[in-house]
Symmetry: none
DNA sequence: CCCCGGCCTCAAGAACGCGTAAAAGCCGGA
DNA sequence: TCCGGCTTTTACGCGTTCTTGAGGCCGGGG
């Protein structure tokens, strides 16, 4: 299910959006200020964010920057300001679209569909990553090894998923910890050692000499095909 | 260079866009009707399309469909119709954005940047820096020399990364020390000597006569391609 | 000619990060 | 309540990396 984070300080707008979005099968999260919006975004990993710019605590542009710091989630800005400088500012800060209030619900929903479609298209590319030893199916969240399915715990899968989405790339310890354990645990690199040992035991032919789950000492980990 | 296909049957709009886009460094292609637009798109493979919906020959939505049949190029629709049903129709046909005429050039350019930014982020082909002796891949954080991968320690990589991002430019000792060792060690120029010796041993064909990792005595270091 | 600053080289101990194992804590379901 | 699976914590040995100091080289200036 596609999840949407709605951020606005006007309850009636949040309510209207929640009703319309839920009715169309979206999962809806909400936030009423910038600070909690960033928190909810980290926790809930929404597929798209609808963001009002006139928030009470943080400037809208800073909220965009805060999201863009770690994510490429599409952001659709809602704002009462119609002047082009506001639009330019928001779009250049990293927003994907800009809709002025009052807005037509039909149009907003269409723009939302367009935004989601783009990211789906981006990630749709063969959601299966294959190595000589095992196969990762990102769509159904399963791993096979020698024809047999390998059971992974949620944490293990979290790591495998991030790595498999970045084949060949070095992924920093910080990024892994951030995305799997949350921003509070970015220094617990011991977790990574424990879990990578576990994953190697489950997936590598020779866990002591891994061919695919590679450690880059001091930097991070790499998923070699 | 980013290329833009502008499709509109009103010459003055095409001209205005051509001038503004060229001035900002875009490569501009043009078409005045739907049929030729599809042809030019196939030939020129633009990075983004600005499409007027009121074309003389083909209905705008069909042009979108014609493009979407084989491509995911971002499409920004221009249209005089402000009713939401028109917007919904175009967006659901596959358009990425919808701007109503008359439009502000600033805003259109910002939306165009947003559209391009998305696809660049998506396709970001590895930024690779290549010399006669070795290859630095900044995205995956790897260095190759003569087909074989060279292992770099975190500190070594830190130096190579900074230099490779500034090819040909002189980078001061202070900057290198600051970025790799932190502000506390900007005077430890001995570190640089030790590590550059190490890097030259790993990367240069003749470490005693470096061709790429050049010392500028008293100033800093330079990465020659 | 000699001195000196800056650079290169080498080597050794300290510090760090990794892998591994095993115990302890924390649920949720039977 | 007990059990089993999963996560978090602790401990230790080991190899690698970083830091540091000493010595040699080179070129420019006195």
């Amino acid at each position: 299910m596609t999840s949407v984070l709605v951020v606005d300080d006007e309850p009636q707008i949040v309510r209207a959006l929640r009703i319309n979005l839920s009715a169309r099968g979206y999962e809806v999260m909400t936030a009423y200020d910038g600070r909690s919006a960033l928190g909810v975004a980290v926790e809930g990993k929404p597929d798209v964010v609808v963001l009002d710019l006139g928030l009470p605590d943080i400037d809208g542009v800073d909220v965009i920057a805060g999201l863009r710091g770690w994510s490429t989630i599409p952001i659709i800005v809602l704002s009462a300001r119609t002047d082009s400088s506001a639009k330019v500012e928001a779009l250049d800060a990293g927003a994907d679209d800009y809709v002025t209030k009052p807005f037509g619900m039909d149009e907003l929903l269409a723009r939302l569909r367009a935004a989601v479609r783009r990211t789906v298209a981006r990630e749709a590319g063969d959601p299966v990553v294959e190595t000589a030893s095992f196969v990762v199916d990102l769509a159904v969240k399963k791993v096979q090894r020698g024809g047999r399915e390998v059971h992974l715990t949620p944490t293990e899968w979290g790591l495998v998923e991030i790595l498999a989405r970045n084949p060949g790339r070095l992924v920093s310890q910080k990024q892994l910890l951030q995305e799997v354990w949350g921003p509070m645990h970015v220094n617990e690199s011991q977790y990574l050692r424990v879990y990578f040992a576990q994953l190697r035991r489950k997936l590598e032919d020779d866990p002591a000499r891994p061919k695919h789950l590679i450690t880059e000492p001091g930097m991070g980990y790499r998923f070699e095909l």
